[in-house]
């Protein structure tokens, strides 16, 4: 391999421990290669220089902080008996690899090394490389092919992201259809007299319907054009801002794909037309002389109302049954079918369910809030179908958000349970020699450490294992998930799986020290090094002193890397080895949080559209009720009370809908956990976790959204003088 004089770069990774003066960076971390040839080296340095040959290494700057490594220090890469030592010559900004070695060094590690490609450049061909005698476990690629391959991989990733984004766009479009259809319904209801007048002067039903649909088409085209312009402008703006704020950021130029632009425009027009279908069909029922009748509420006794309610009941009952079935037979398709059916049923039953819930909530509130609240509740329920349609858009958003929040919390609980099982103790400082008593004190003083306790131990011989460290657990609540070895039972030894594997008789262990021997029942103890026994057994062996310190990190937001770095410096100062799972734990939880917040962020677009829908409906209702408001003002309703009345109406609608969405979303998440997630992790199991705080936040956001939605309509309503309002015809 040293014979390789061609400009080549072997792309390889190994997952091995990396340590520096006894401090280990997590369990196994990725170690990659760095080329000595500048032309084949995409990495960027944050300090130091690039390796010029074997024995030199780069370390990722965030890991360097955790390890306490500076340029010039030595790092040890690999497992016991299979290590490579290299001097750190530079720090780099690497997302994937904790450390980068030259290929000859990495190739010296016997196991665990995965070579993904060998890249050649500078005019050399793959054949030259093979002739130079490269390890046959690697495929050889020219630099051009390699780049093309990596580009394809990256593009596939981008395509997947696009697909997910389009999924959320579809949710947003669905909510838009609900909002647009509702707005059309309200507008056409208010225009009933005009449309009836048109019918009086000779317009046919078809002509009236066509005029309404033409209007929808024109609005859809106008809005789509505007949206296209604003969206494109926003894209350019974001790219420009990113370039200005972070000049080195990996963001290309803004680019408009004509097919997407045209497709988006057509989709916008189609969605608007689709939303106008039902409301415009309703206009054909307008009788020429029915002009003066006000819009009636949906009446369960009428045929259409009964049909809708019947359909809703069937869908809700059938969907619920399917969901129950899905939870039992663990079937995703059955769950999706049940979910769509039951949600459709809920939307169909909305005119009954939503007003009933609003009345139930408003009754006690009305006693506190006085006349404005009682009037608001009556107003919110006077057009049940309109109320339900307005609620529907918000219901979609809150149900999805709640489902994700509850599902994510449940998965998180499951992951945390698995991590607690594998790594019950966050960090252990251990040494083969006695540790000074103040080490635990110093560890306790670190910000982000909630507890630390010295662990007594000694060294003993065991058959087939040689010298092993025997420790007595400190008890207390330092270990997560209360593993058995944290409170060892008398007569039992808890042995690390690595040691257990090397024992001839895995049920029994005989420990000998200075002629004193104890024979104990052996139990496997995942996530520990050495052997843990009860205090009495340790005293029988004799010679016990502080050999380790158990550390419990906080679950708060303190930076795990900082804590690990501080632990590392204590460990180095006291000559102890550090092994920790804090950084891995923080990393995994961060990944879960990032996914959750990204998805909730994308769904919030649907919530914003729903909010606009509430504002829209309320605004139109305020226009419709101009005379009523004037009458109330004449009778002594103050401006403040009028504003409070409209605010209460919007908030009642938003909060009650939010609460329904939270209940339904949590139920869906429970089914999802039982049907899909639990079968995927049969070992650890998963429980439904309802994060009350986050769901409270969803409800609070619904409340704020309701208040925001009523701002403009309430302002306009309150500005109208009572005399002017009475003059409205």
């Amino acid at each position: 391999m040293a014979a390789l004089r061609l400009p080549t770069r072997v792309v390889a990774t190994a997952r091995v421990p990396v340590s520096s003066s006894g401090t280990r960076a997590g369990d196994d971390v990725a170690v990659g290669t760095v080329a000595t040839d500048a032309a084949l080296r995409p990495e960027r340095l944050t300090s130091g220089r690039f390796p010029t040959g074997p024995g030199q290494a780069l370390v990722a700057s965030d890991r360097a902080a955790a390890l306490g490594v500076r340029v010039g220090d030595e790092i040890v890469v690999g497992r016991a008996g299979d290590t490579v030592t290299a001097r750190v010559v530079g720090l780099t900004r690497s997302a994937d690899d904790a450390a980068l070695l030259t290929w000859p060094d990495l190739a010296r590690l016997r196991g665990d090394t995965l070579v993904s490609a060998v890249v050649v450049g500078g005019g050399a061909t793959p054949a030259d490389v093979r002739a130079a005698g490269l390890p046959d476990r690697a495929g050889v690629t020219s630099a051009e092919d390699f780049l093309q391959h990596r580009a394809q991989e990256l593009t596939r990733g981008v395509d997947a992201v696009s697909a997910v984004l389009l999924g959320f766009a579809a949710v947003a479009l669905f909510v838009s259809v609900l909002v647009i259809a509702n707005t059309f319904s309200v507008l056409l209801a208010q225009r009933q007299r005009e449309l009836a007048l048109l019918r009086c002067v000779g317009a046919s039903r078809q002509q009236v319907r066509r005029s309404v649909r033409t209007e929808a088409l024109v609005i859809g085209m106008g809005a789509s054009t505007l949206a296209l312009a604003v969206g494109t402008g926003l894209g350019h703006l974001i790219v420009t801002v990113v370039h200005a704020v972070a000049p080195g950021a990996p963001v290309g130029e803004a680019h408009v794909a004509p097919a997407w632009a045209v497709g988006g425009w057509v989709l916008g027009v189609l969605v608007t037309l689709l939303a106008s279908v039902v409301p415009s069909r309703r206009t054909t029922r307008i009788e020429p002389l029915a002009a003066l009748r006000p819009l009636g509420a949906v009446d369960p006794r009428t045929v259409a109302g009964a049909g809708r309610i019947g359909l809703g009941l069937v869908l809700a009952a059938g969907g619920t049954a399917l969901l129950a079935l899905a939870a039992v037979v663990h079937s995703l398709p059955v769950m999706l079918l049940g979910g769509f059916a039951s949600f459709g049923g809920l939307l169909a039953l909305g005119p009954v369910v939503v007003p009933a819930c609003i009345r139930a909530v408003a009754a006690p509130l009305g006693r506190l809030g006085g006349a404005p609240t009682r009037l608001a509740a009556a107003n919110a329920c006077r057009h049940p179908r309109r109320t339900a349609a307005t609620a529907a858009s918000l219901l979609v958003g809150t149900t999805l958000v709640t489902g994700l929040v509850v599902g994510s919390a449940s998965v998180r609980g499951s992951v945390v349970g698995a991590m607690d099982h594998d790594h019950p103790v966050d960090a252990v400082l251990s040494s083969s020699r006695p540790l000074a008593p103040e080490v635990a004190e110093r560890v306790r003083g670190i910000d982000g450490v909630v507890g630390a306790a010295p662990v007594r131990g000694t060294t003993a011989r065991a058959a087939g294992l040689g010298e092993v460290t025997v420790l007595g657990a400190p008890g207390g609540s330092l270990a997560r998930g209360a593993p058995a070895y944290a409170r060892p039972a008398a007569g039992t030894a808890y042995v690390s799986p690595a040691l257990l594997n090397e024992m001839a008789d895995q049920r029994r262990i005989r420990l000998v020290r200075d002629g004193r021997a104890v024979t104990l029942r052996a139990e496997p103890a995942p996530g520990v090094d050495g052997v843990y026994v009860a205090s009495a057994e340790l005293d029988r062996l004799g010679g016990a002193s502080t050999r380790a310190v158990w550390v419990r990190g906080s679950d708060g937001r303190s930076d795990a890397d900082d804590v690990v770095a501080a632990l590392g410096s204590v460990a180095r100062a006291s000559g102890a080895d550090l092994s920790e799972s804090l950084s891995d734990r923080a990393y995994v939880l961060l990944q879960l949080d990032v996914v959750l917040y990204t998805v909730v962020g994308l769904l919030s677009i649907a919530l914003v559209i729903a909010l606009l829908g509430i504002a829209n409906t309320l605004g139109l209702s305020v226009l419709e009720r101009g005379r009523e408001h004037a009458l109330l003002r004449a009778l002594g309703l103050t401006r403040g009370q009028l504003r409070r009345m409209l605010a209460a109406e919007a908030v009642l609608l938003a909060v009650v809908t939010g609460a329904i969405g939270i209940a339904v979303g949590a139920a869906y998440a429970s089914v999802g956990v039982a049907a899909v997630i639990a079968p995927a992790v049969p070992d650890t199991g998963v429980h439904v976790v309802v994060p009350v705080g986050q769901l409270g936040l969803v409800l609070l956001l619904a409340l704020v959204a309701g208040l925001a939605a009523c701002l403009l309509p309430a302002r306009r309503a309150a500005r109208t003088a009572p005399a002017a309002g009475l003059a409205l015809e």
Binding site: P294, G370, A371, R374, L375, A378, N379, C381, R382, R627, E628, L631, L632, R633, A634, L635, G636, L637, T638, R639, G640, Q641, A721, P722, A723, L726
Partner: protein
Amino acid sequence: MTSTTPDPVRTAAASARGLTRSYGSGATRVDALAGVDLDITTGTFTAVVGPSGSGKSTLMHCLAGLDTPTSGTVVVGGTELAADGRALDDAALTRFRRDHVGFVFQAFNLLPMLTAEQNVVLPFELAGRRPTSQDREWQSYVVDVLGLRDRMGHRPSALSGGQQQRVAVARALVTRPDIVFADEPTGNLDSRSSADVLGVLRRSVDELGQTVVMVTHDEGAASHADEVVVIEDGRVADHRRGVA
């Protein structure tokens, strides 16, 4: 008796002095009221009549605290609503209307989502106070006088036009206001219902001692009143007393 009272502004239920109300400015300026002096006698039924656009509705709005005069003085029930171009602010005017004035409008008197009973007690609700036992007795009496006892649980859509107006009258009377303003209360009614509503207003003056001001362009309706004020071009053209 008003003629012998030295200071009519203090004893009248409502008084206006030099009342003007203009809309717009410059060339588009319209003087709806061009200097009105008027006293409404306590405990009488006064009809304000005049052709369309004469300013009679504007006069009522200014007297009732629904609109703010451009200049002049308005005193109602001892409260100075406006003087020398200064007027009470919106919140004070609102409280004044709530506590001192009852209204009956031509249409849209009742809130459609509330029952007749809820509409009648709305003024108490808006004031945020519980009706006292006296209030409830009075309410019960008014409802009986107006013959609404068996209609109180209905929503407005289930009541006839005449019944709706009687509910509106009940609401106007229930707080025992200093003055009740009725703006074309019979405008949307047939002749039988009109007579019915006018009779009710008449009885509220005679039997309950209420002061009622009714704006109307219907001379027949005006014939039920004690006094008739004729408005033409924003001025009082005639004030006939002791008509009924």
